[in-house]
Amino acid sequence: MAQLDNIIHQPVRLQIMSSLVSLDQNEHVNFTYLRKLLKLTDGNLGAHLSKLEQASYIKIEKTFVARKPQTFISATGKGRDAFAGHVAALKEIVEGSQTQIETNS
């Protein structure tokens, strides 16, 4: 039986992970672009990214593009697995079974 993940379950973090796992495994997204895509503020996105990074669900890389500093974010393998498990658990609930949220923070 799949397990809910209470780090991912938070609505903003669920949106972040949904967006990141839509990318291919070796792709990463620009912080500013992700912020606009999810309609979040810098602070809000930054806080949730920190939480996901602490759980090793995402990787944050700071780099220079055309001499300008940029932050890129990608989902890790662990994050993708956790997200897939969370979505599977949600589907099970919708289909009628009950699932307990895994406490992993």
Partner: protein, 192 residues
Amino acid sequence: MNISQEEAQASLSSVREVTSRTQRAIASAYANPLLILWGMLWIIAYTATHFYLAYAFHIFTTMAVVGGVGTAVIVWSLHSKAPIQEASSPKLGRRITMFWILLCVYIPIWLFLLAPFTGLQCNAFICTATMFAYIVMGLWFDNRFMIILGLALTAATLAGFYILRDIYCLWMAFVGGGALLGTGLYIRLRWR
């Protein structure tokens, strides 16, 4: 902690919505300038062909060259500042580009196999094949607009072919070219 079926359903809807929005954002970065370019070229070429039928070959050859160079310039310039990156271009964007390149390769193959045909048949075939690709894109991105557009333009092409032969080029300029241009503008305004 338990969550209700309604909450789970809402979370799944959010996942679907964000996934779709992300994929459309990736696609739109490449698709909308190309659709606008080709829509404008389509309108110019068909309108010119209606009035200067004897120069149809030259008109469409010019359109293909300008379109090809324009496409290369757009893809190159977008790649360098893409918000989603890897060692090379985004895979989804690359798959979409590959799909359209393959279509451009297969259409001449099909035409070669189907020959002989009239100019009108050739044109109607290319238009309906392109609209088929629109429908595939619509199914791929779960986008009703592109599916409806593909079906509507297929119907419009068939109407032009069977009913409006005398003004076929003019009809296709504004229906076909207008649809490409309109789709590009729609994506630019709505998918961003």
